[in-house]
């Protein structure tokens, strides 16, 4: 292959990760490229046609569950909205608002139904297994596999049922069953994959999931602070905020300790550190608000009119920014940890149930 830029053709399917980026598959002259965006970095994984052992694909019920949730919540909230709109007689603006409200739920429902059933597709090579996130829809995955299959068979040859039933024993030297297969691409340096060793302190990612879920909880808390200020006593709001803050700080420190055990990818590490920065910023803001409300010139008027020295606009602004930041951090963190856990599962390591196998090693690889 020349050193010129490789020309890639985009394959169908994509996996969009809100606030982070997306995964896409591209077809190169002799390989499939998985391009993953993580904020402003794009990482690449190449699966050469000569190395691909198998694709596995199985249907999942995620799409059905998503449809059920969207339909139930959308229908319920729409009924409530219509009932409210019609309570004081026909009201066109209120009905329009109700219709818009329903659309927020029913449009994703329609799109999800149109996209078809969901699935999980993995590619297997001799050394590892990779979950192909862009192929999350059954129809798309089948089309892409139908496209790739002849290309791979053009390089490796066709695996017949007889050869498969006979197993590797029927392939002296390991290559007999592969009429089109040449020498291993990486030649002299190819070695057996090292067996994964069992680590007593293996992290499971649960703490990180709890952390990002807690960060995400700041969204309803801030919205509550914004919209229920008139009816909620300030002491209740303060207690809720303090509990949340303590939980985030504690979980962040435990999560950072777990980072030291390794195993997490850069993206999860980055978002964990960002969570710490966010928690510290929240501590600073709460500290400033409390100081100025306690010792400021209008400290007695805080409960009636909100933070007096910095003004109502500052209070609203801080809450809006907090909603945006916590949503971005929480959602992206949860997605990244989910992807990381999926990667472990796909490679045959079950993070949630680490069990020392006989001899101290657990099995490497697997399907």
């Amino acid at each position: 292959m020349s050193d010129d830029a490789i020309v890639y053709r985009q394959l169908r399917g994509r996996c969009v990760r809100p606030f982070i980026g997306q995964h896409r598959l591209w077809l190169g002259p002799d390989h499939v490229l998985l391009a993953s965006d993580c904020w402003f970095t794009q990482s690449y994984r190449r699966f050469y046609f000569s190395d691909i052992q198998a694709f596995t694909l199985h249907r999942t019920d995620l799409g059905k569950a998503f449809n059920a949730v969207l339909a139930t919540v959308g229908a319920g909230l729409s009924l409530v909205a219509v009932a409210v709109a019609l309570a004081g007689g026909p009201n066109l603006p209120a009905l329009a608002a109700a219709a818009l409200f329903a659309l927020l739920f029913f449009l994703p429902l329609m799109l999800n139904i149109a996209a078809g059933p969901t699935c999980r597709c993995s590619v297997h090579t001799a050394t590892h297994t990779e979950l192909l996130l862009p192929l999350g829809r059954l129809r798309t995955a089948q089309q892409v596999l139908d496209l790739l299959r002849p290309l791979i068979e053009g390089v490796q040859g066709v695996l017949t049922a007889e050869a498969l039933a006979a197993g590797p024993a029927a392939a002296p030297g390991g290559d007999a069953a592969a009429p089109g297969a040449g020498a291993p691409r990486t030649g002299p340096l190819r070695v057996d994959a090292p067996a994964a060793t069992w680590h007593p302190t293996r992290v499971t990612g649960r703490i990180h999931q709890a952390l990002f879920l807690t960060v995400l909880c700041d969204v309803p808390i801030c919205l509550m602070d914004l919209y229920l200020r008139d009816i909620m006593p300030p002491a209740v709001s303060m207690v809720i905020n303090m509990i949340w803050l303590l939980a985030v700080v504690a979980l962040t420190f435990v999560a950072l300790v777990q980072l030291q055990h390794g195993g997490f990818n850069d993206a999860v590490q980055t978002v964990t550190w960002l969570s710490l920065a966010y928690a510290l910023a929240c501590v600073a803001v709460v500290y400033v608000l409390q100081i100025q409300s306690s010792f400021g010139p209008f400290s007695g008027a805080y409960e009636e009119v909100g933070p007096p020295l910095l003004g109502d606009g500052f209070y609203v602004g801080v809450n809006v920014v907090a909603v945006v930041l916590s949503a971005a951090l929480g959602i992206s963190g949860l997605i990244l940890v989910r992807d990381w856990r999926r990667g472990l599962l796909a490679s045959g390591e079950e993070p949630a149930q680490p069990a020392p196998p006989p001899g101290g090693d657990d099995g490497a690889g697997g399907m």
Binding site: D4, I6, T41, L57, H124, L189, R190, M367
Partner: protein, 197 residues
């Protein structure tokens, strides 16, 4: 993965060979629709590297890194003699480990690139973020606008994404930065006009 591990991804039940390359079919154990496309590499397994041959005749060319091993082929990049242990065949080239490492670090070959920073996306995000949070973040444009210009000038010719990607992001980010500069100039002009009539 090998033939012993042909199992249903959903229930981990062992699959018969009849399920392989048979299109979408139901798992006999959990009834999940699944498809397994296998290729001859499944039976090939992981190939072991060849053993390098020792130098037996005096004066015979030897490997640059292992003087006691016989040369198999020179490196396509630096021309050093390499034994079977040192040569790496990758995408039609025979490289030594040092050239492979330097090629990967210097991103000389597109097929060795594993990561790229997308400066154009960074500049565009810096341009749009203050606009999306305009109400509360507009003073930030004093910092982001010059930063956008710096990113665009510094990384205009930096290697872009390996996959096809439109080149409209940096010009658009520059336009946004220009608009922010114009807005600040307008604000400054209004303030000067108000102060000095």
């Amino acid at each position: 993965m090998d033939t012993e591990h042909l199992i249903c991804p959903a229930c981990r039940a062992r699959l018969g060979t009849g399920h392989v390359n048979a299109g979408l079919a139901a798992c006999p154990s959990c009834d999940t629709s699944l498809r397994v496309d296998a290729f001859p590499a499944l039976l090939r397994g992981t190939a072991r590297g060849r053993e390098p041959e020792p130098v037996v005749v005096d004066g015979e060319s030897s490997c640059y890194y292992h003087p006691h091993y016989k040369v198999e082929a020179p490196c396509d990049e630096c021309g050093r003699f390499l034994c079977a242990l040192c040569g790496i065949d990758i995408c039609g080239k025979h490289l030594c480990p040092a050239c492979l490492a330097s090629a990967q670090a210097g991103e000389r070959h597109p097929w060795l690139v594993t990561r790229r920073v997308l400066y154009d996306g960074m500049a565009l995000a810096l341009g749009f973020a203050p606009l999306l949070l305009f109400l509360f973040c507009w003073p930030v444009t004093l910092i982001t606008a010059p930063l956008i210009v710096f990113l665009c000038v510094r990384y205009w010719n930096a290697p872009k994404s390996v996959v096809p990607r439109g080149r409209w992001r940096m010009p658009l980010a520059l336009l946004l930065a220009g608009a922010q500069f114009v807005a600040w100039a307008g604000v400054a002009a209004v303030m000067l006009f108000a102060l000095f009539g």
